[in-house]
Symmetry: C2
Subunit: 374 residues, 2 copies
Amino acid sequence: MGHHLDEVSGPARVAGPGDGIGREELALAARNHGLPLEALRYDVTPPGLHYTHTHYDIPYADDTRTPWQLSIGGRVRRPRVLGTAELTSYPAVTRRVTMECEGNGRALLTPRPVSQPWLVEAVGTAEWTGVPLRVLLADAGVEADAVDVVFTGADHGVERGVEQDYQRALPVASALGENPEALVAYGMNGAPLPPQHGFPLRLVVPGWYGMAQVKWLRAITVIDIAFEGFQQVAAHRVRQDGVEEGEPVTRIAPRALLVPPGFPDFMSRARVVRAGAVPLEGRAWSGWAPVTGVEVSTDGGREWREAELEPAGGHRWAWRRWRFGWTAEPGRHTLGARAFDAEGHTQPLRPSWNLGGFVNNAVQDVPVLCVERD
Amino acid sequence: MGHHLDEVSGPARVAGPGDGIGREELALAARNHGLPLEALRYDVTPPGLHYTHTHYDIPYADDTRTPWQLSIGGRVRRPRVLGTAELTSYPAVTRRVTMECEGNGRALLTPRPVSQPWLVEAVGTAEWTGVPLRVLLADAGVEADAVDVVFTGADHGVERGVEQDYQRALPVASALGENPEALVAYGMNGAPLPPQHGFPLRLVVPGWYGMAQVKWLRAITVIDIAFEGFQQVAAHRVRQDGVEEGEPVTRIAPRALLVPPGFPDFMSRARVVRAGAVPLEGRAWSGWAPVTGVEVSTDGGREWREAELEPAGGHRWAWRRWRFGWTAEPGRHTLGARAFDAEGHTQPLRPSWNLGGFVNNAVQDVPVLCVERD
């Protein structure tokens, strides 16, 4: 009898009633990390604070010793292999983009889908520098029968019994689109990509959830059929069970988060403020359309008041800062904020459940204890 | 009736039998993070991969707008307040140091102390640049009656009911010592400190666990009594119950970790290798004395064989790389490694329990499934 991958690779499952986070979820939580929410203060997130999520291992790439190669092939007239030096010879484009994991909010669902257990912190904003994907594809000459463009990363593993390199596709119209304009990026915040963000090359698709942002990019392949790889059809779909085909996850649903005010208790993470004026601030974003408003509740979602929204400053694909003046009175409060976008999308007060735990953009609850001034 | 901090801040506790990781522990795990173990490959850990652990919030410091001030006072003849520019006018010292959280291994204890739930990954190695603490203290003129040197960070919170700025002390002999030589550091891997690593200033005490490495350092205070702050006497002690005084945690116990071979299953994190030659490598370190040997077991700790240890390369306080040639046969295996140091310290096969979950340096278990070659 041989040994098979399914000895270590099981189907998707949900946690039982009352089950805490298990060892496997903890192993993911210990290696990946979210944005510590106080870091919402930075317009651009320092790399070690930006959320990061890696399905398998972070590939070890030494571009000096073994030059990285990006192949562009399939249904193109001029297949090519590019090194990083050839990419940097194109005019550089830098774009500020807010990225979020589509599993953000998963650990707040009941029952909890067993996977990377995010609360609300799987987000970050960076200045990505690279070459527009559409420019590279134009140089390669996409054939008229192109349907999907497949992006292959160097990260390799097994998932639900399927051994794979991480692969995702974009419809050809999205890959060639200018709004948003996808980048093949080699820089983050003015420096080379850090290993966990895809060194030396990654895809950046503004407005889309993280599963589209293929890291350690080594191949771009144009195909004339719809891509049916694991990460396209088995994963990243909103479905109620494992039978349903489901809706693919694409753009980032709107979300507002606040910088938790005051100071925390180490263990409970509850926030403490002193009575009086407590300025609140946070960020809001949407991958569907520009954010047009943010509302704040200080009583657990019963009443809502308009926050002041800072100008977008030309950064369509980045979060916007908002501010709200709160006068805290002694007692216990639950703070929250919700974003609205120009297409009428907003955030629900309660999550809607799905098997993968995707796109849970329910309003954040921030419990605060207000004590008297000294 | 007023509201009090103990509404949100409770005593230390342990998890019940079979309790999974709770919401509070998950909130810590989602914001702090360990070293993804494949990053043991790097001699010097990129900042976003180096473990990080923050008790309260990461302070927001804008040294340009509001110049940071470090005060040196107490039992010194020449109290001073230094800015970062004055610190960088001293001759710079750069030292490669492996840091580890004393709570590393906590989540593997039974029962599990409820706190930051580390498995084995709370470690990292960086090149720290700064000014030797003993040089700053010599300039300040330490009085003859000095007992402890207290380091105060700008991070503020509540812990077990005690509101505090993070404060830890070193005995004056350790603060003035040359082996190890503590640094007031302003640089990490040739760049300013990232926010989560203490921007703009932090203490680095080679060989000691993380609780001594005070970040966001704003005051150094020499005192003529033993320091009795919360982080000195209430926390960071090895004890069996909350009554016992306990032994203070100081130096890093020896540990060897291996780069998990092959590739992972996304969810179970189990490793898969193909039958045949599988080179193993990892790192080993000890804060007590130089590492003198590493042994590897491929059968769950029954048999041990010597690994090949790379030279330390002049970096006494950094981890050392080791290598081991394994021939994998189809089936399930449990890999592990153990370090030995020059003072005879090593790693146990089973953890010894304490209430805080400190200094658990039991041998890592790495389950591997070996399948036939294709």
